[in-house]
Symmetry: D3
Subunit: 315 residues, 6 copies
């Protein structure tokens, strides 16, 4: 059976999908409608449900699985679903949300194994103990959360997958440039976005928490390292702890992007650039997968609102 992202323009269909988001809004004419984001393992498409009754609003909430009949159309360049009919999946049908969530392209087990060997290479005792402590404390959410509310790696497990991709490129870099401190770079990469498990609410209907809004995930990790040091009796004013914190705090690269300090250490600058590169590639690939050669993607907010052209050479 076809997946959401495989539908072509004007194709009609009926399939089970997950309601990833279900925002109730009011139309200009005063009636309510639901702005859905439908999801299956191939990705997400939006669709609007007009003139929604209070009952329908209650029934079709985020996180439910539905049998959706619709037509794949386009609105201002982006694909969208025209809803023809829709009902909740029953118990005898495939109604478990986890069946429809986009997943990282490799399994959790493989990822865990790669993280294990990466942590093994963190040879500085303080860094190793801090990383192990926090990694095991937040492991559950780390492998379930997306890397961002939207934009890049916005799928279940995206946070772990993004972190892993960075570790892989970092490995190549440290092979070419032996002056780079591999232990530090690995420790920094593993912790840099870990605060997102506190900044965001989770993989479905992802929102910012109050702590996320008021502190941001950079400071949140800094606090977690501080508490870990107190617990493990590590001096949090020693140079190696200060440097690890600095990698986390400076990884957005510029003050304008929310880092309270700019990178002042070789590995901090590299961490920032790796983060940037991996996020960019994911955002571009995500948008390019939805179009055909000769077309342009929709504008990508996280890429300065640029759109990208897909050449014919992949035919």
């Amino acid at each position: 059976m076809k997946k959401l992202k495989e539908l072509v323009l004007d194709e009609t269909f009926e399939m089970f999908v997950l309601l990833k988001n279900a925002d109730v809004r009011m139309a200009k004419n005063g009636k309510k409608f639901i702005a859905f984001t439908f999801q299956d393992t191939s990705g997400t498409i939006d669709g609007k449900f007009w003139d929604a009754s209070e009952e329908e609003i209650k029934k079709f909430s985020a996180g439910r699985v539905v049998l959706l009949g619709g037509k794949r159309e386009a609105y201002q360049g982006a694909p969208q679903i025209k809803i023809l009919n829709m009902r909740l999946a029953t118990e005898t049908e495939p109604d478990s949300p986890s069946l429809y969530m986009e997943k990282a392209p490799i399994s959790r087990e493989e990822m865990e194994a790669e993280f294990s060997s990466a942590i093994f290479e963190i040879t500085n005792a303080n860094w190793n103990r801090i990383v192990r402590h926090l990694f095991s404390q937040y492991q559950q959410q780390f492998f379930e959360f997306p890397a961002a509310k939207r934009n890049h790696h916005a799928f279940a497990g995206g946070l772990a997958y993004h972190t892993l991709s960075m570790l892989r490129i970092a490995k190549s870099l440290t092979d070419f440039y032996p002056e780079i401190n591999k232990a530090l770079l690995y420790a920094g990469i593993i912790l840099h976005d870990l605060g997102k498990v506190i900044e965001l609410t989770g993989p479905i209907s992802t929102e910012y928490t109050l702590a996320g809004n008021l502190l941001g995930h950079l400071v949140i990790v800094d606090e977690e390292i501080t508490k870990t040091c107190q617990t493990l009796k590590i001096d949090d004013r020693s140079e190696d702890v200060l440097i690890l914190k600095h990698l986390v705090l400076s990884h957005h690269g510029l003050l304008e992007y929310g880092s309270p300090v700019r990178p002042q250490i070789l590995e901090a600058e590299i961490l920032h650039q790796l983060d940037n590169m991996d996020a960019s590639i994911q955002m571009m690939l995500g948008a390019l997968r939805s179009i055909n050669p000769g077309e342009r993607t929709e504008r990508i907010f996280g890429m300065d609102n640029r759109n990208f052209y897909l050449p014919h050479f992949n035919d």
Copy 2:
């Protein structure tokens, strides 16, 4: 006897002064010189000591008191001292550095009393306990440190005095605008710059510490609140703790100025503006005190490099 700042152009003098800074540099001709900042209670003036021998460099180090014979000149609009002769003060002379340091215009005792009553008005239990704990932990340095390496309130006790001035204006504001939460604003003001006692090295030859460079004083206070909560068993994810941290983290107002988040709470925005206003007034007053009506101050770095005109109406 005349003070440093009372000297007029081309006046010669002999007086005891403190060596606030003593930076050794190399002239274009390859010889070393010492760039001194001389200080007494009236303020500071720079002066260069040419062709310094290794022995002189060792002898005339920052923090020593000297008997200085010189002439008050000007260099590119700023006052400077031409050094005619100079020797260390002896034990029988007034050789204690504290005699020459610029001080806050009111006494430490008065300041302590005002802080006490301000803390008394912090009626929220969590905020009150956190503020009391940190205030007593760092009280010693808080009353000795300057508020900045240079720019505003750069004198011993300047940190406490700047904080106090802000509390005073805050009091007026909360009188006019009763919607402002006075307890929160007071707690935020008292803690906002407390991290400077860790960010800076102290009142003499003030430099940034490694923690100051790599974390910045905003994040340092945030960490201190985190540790205090762990010690006092306060939930550091409760709304009132998050908000207090937010006031500290956002008080630079803009991301470009090093706040990882912009103010999102009424009192956070007000704290930022009060900080700005008090610092500005101090910088302008400091520069205006050195000139005569009809003249312009030197350019003030912290005021976008503007200079200011002193009108004749004060005559």
Copy 3:
């Protein structure tokens, strides 16, 4: 009876309100509608009147009082009224617009008294004569006009009230910092926004006049001072007149905000910051009054489009 701002979500009501604005626009379907701003003394809420006939457009014009039946809904986070029925108020009903206008929180008489004593403290003869002359010339409009077309203090009397708030904070500042020239600061505050009585059309359906658009209120006040000097035979090139003009011209602080010169006098910089602070507080308070603890305000244009969070501590 309930006021506009006291209505809760989905509450239906019938009440008399003033039509503060009534902009006729065309919908995408080619039919006309009226975008109303309804007002009573508690504030304003928008509402759209669909498919308006030419007769209705003529009848429901800005400045009229209507009996409005409606429902309080929300559109994109901001409160709005769904209009159920609406008719003009009759002569036997409370149909005077002044009954529904938001007002400054203190009476005109009290404000006048405070202005009188403030002007009394302007001890420089030139400044005093100029201020008295312009204040009495434009007194009527000064106490009726809003401080801005929208954003801060956008209510009848808002201009006088904003000016008065600034005078109050200025009083505290000059108490702490006796170096500030109180006479100059008071004169500058009273005149700084007086040009708005020429820049804007008035308290209802407020628009910019041609002079407002082509010159702006800063230059308008400058011209008024120039004319006053010619009338009162004061030398408009004397230092004290130049300085007073400078305070007015520079009070937006930055060239980008429309000041032809940046502040170059202590009191000019302070005036700019006081203006900023009072306007900010009013904008935030205005937005916070419409929401409940735990919610966020709508985005405030004048505050760099930020929204603000209302904590639970006020419960």
Copy 4:
């Protein structure tokens, strides 16, 4: 005899020149020196007079004519004079400053004639009366002042010459584009920089006046128009007066460049662009005249600090 600008690198000379500027500064070694700008009708070159005595400082002041013996060298790409000997010109020698001032390339009489016919074409009565009144009031200075303290047209008569060049290009434009209101554009051009006769101190040792610093020449002209209207009993709130003022106030084009309003009228935008174009051409030509084909000019501050290349095609 050779002129200053005709000297080649390393050429020694003796000639009478005017001291255009004579700034006394202190060298790093504490001795005073005079930074001269020498001038004759070909242009200006800088030169430093080391170890100046108090008597020499008094004698060699700006505005005096000297017999200068020196060598034409270069310092950081810019030509400069090494002073070999120097004495004041005597009464029997050509000691009148006016003999050495750079002048506009056409005579004052020719310029006056062109202005007369331009004013004749200002057919709107209000604009014509205002222009005539102010032009005759400031005529003397208008033909003597430079157009700027430095940068473009910084020579005696430069203000009138710059204004005239703009009128000439404006004439061509109004020929091609008859929709442009020629009377308005001419009136705006003639008045746009007239305030510089109040903003600056004059053609020698040009500095900003207090009014120049605190108000700026845009607002100064606006005030002069206001006073003229009061004197001539013209309504200064009539549309044509508002528009004329708008042309003057907006002629810097951007708020960042000191215009309190941006151009909102066709002729205001054109005036701004003509001003820009003529000033740019003059700055570039001035710098290019000092170099040979294949070389680059010094960096020009008023052209975003760019330097320009002189090709060989002019050989």
Copy 5:
């Protein structure tokens, strides 16, 4: 018979017009509509065709002439047509698109003559040969293309007309300033926008080509000069060729506007400013022609989104 731009608000009409653009979009309700731009020789007005069938979409495509019955209304300040009825023009009716296209105000023959004499004045042999070669190669499109997709000179022949206007002003400038190399400036002007015949698709339904998007018209002309040199055996690294290329590449003035280098030659800077000035005047005149005295134009994207006021003095 009335033209499109002569219709007044609310006037109904029936007339033949060209469909300049016909973009098919989807409304929020899921139905398709066509966003038309209607055109006759007086200009263009937009109008929406709701609920378009597939047949209508095919029939009413860009480039067809239709008999349009409609009403002239306004939408958000801009004129628009409400479509009442519409059918294709038949063979017996005036159905040739060229009858309805806006044209340059002077004839192609006159323009060709002026270009001929301008090219005659390009006295440098290399420049002359390059210009002649490219001008004759692309002559056909050069006289048919618009100067831009929208904004300035967006009509058939606009590219040639814009180029010609610049040549005219350049002629005046070179008369006043004989230091300007007329041959170079003329050559640069003629070539500067020639790449638009490759960057854009043509005068109807103007879009960017793939080369236009990926290279831009500046680099396209640079490539064309390179190829011409290879064909004509001119050394493309000689100074005069480098300079001509530089004029083309730098004519947007700033890197931010897409020039890979900023102007470094007198004539390059002047070319940039002339381009700017002529484009600005055309944009303003185009917008001002649609409104009455006392009104403001719609916001003009190419003029930093400003709108302009039309005074009454033209009555």
Copy 6:
């Protein structure tokens, strides 16, 4: 024997070095001096030669080898040489400049082999032919030139080495992300900076050529591809050629950095980021190699003028 970069502070020495740069300047006192950059295979250090005679200036020109006696000092944080004595190397001494040039860390042969196999992987015929043609045409200079005048990879062979590093990281990336078109990315990387062999004068006394200044290396490569297509009869308007050119033109990422277009293709964006990352790492490593743990590097112009801290963990 010790190398230049191995000298410690205040160490005296005598060694053969190459004069990489020898700029003659004039001191404030009017005497000439030579600002040398001394070089051996360990790197470069600056040193000033005071009071240089004309004969010495002629003798000690860039590109000569000298026997230098000196002392390693420091000036404003950067190492510098105090010259004690200096003479030209004789024929019997090691006087070949190539003995002293900093070189890429791997041999030319190894690099050539890696380039060969990379070109082999460019499977698109057009790209392969273009790359082969240009690579063989400019091979000689490509392996000798630096990658920049200063900043990153500023050593002989730096251009080839920088390009090779990028190919290596690109290889890892294409392994992880198979959607990336490896042939295109390799072709783009090899050509992206090839224009520097025309933009710069060579490995010694590196300056910009006229073509470099007026066109820039991005446009230069674009022209070279254009000429290659004409020579090899490849259609330069085909999609694959347009895309290859686009990769070159857009590789500075932002218009402000001199790209006439921003990246619009996945591989173009990746090329830009790889370029950035490799250049950054080289600049940081270069600066960090000159300092000890606990110190800060000098400010690095190409890294937004930041300096970097070297932690103690490498001890």
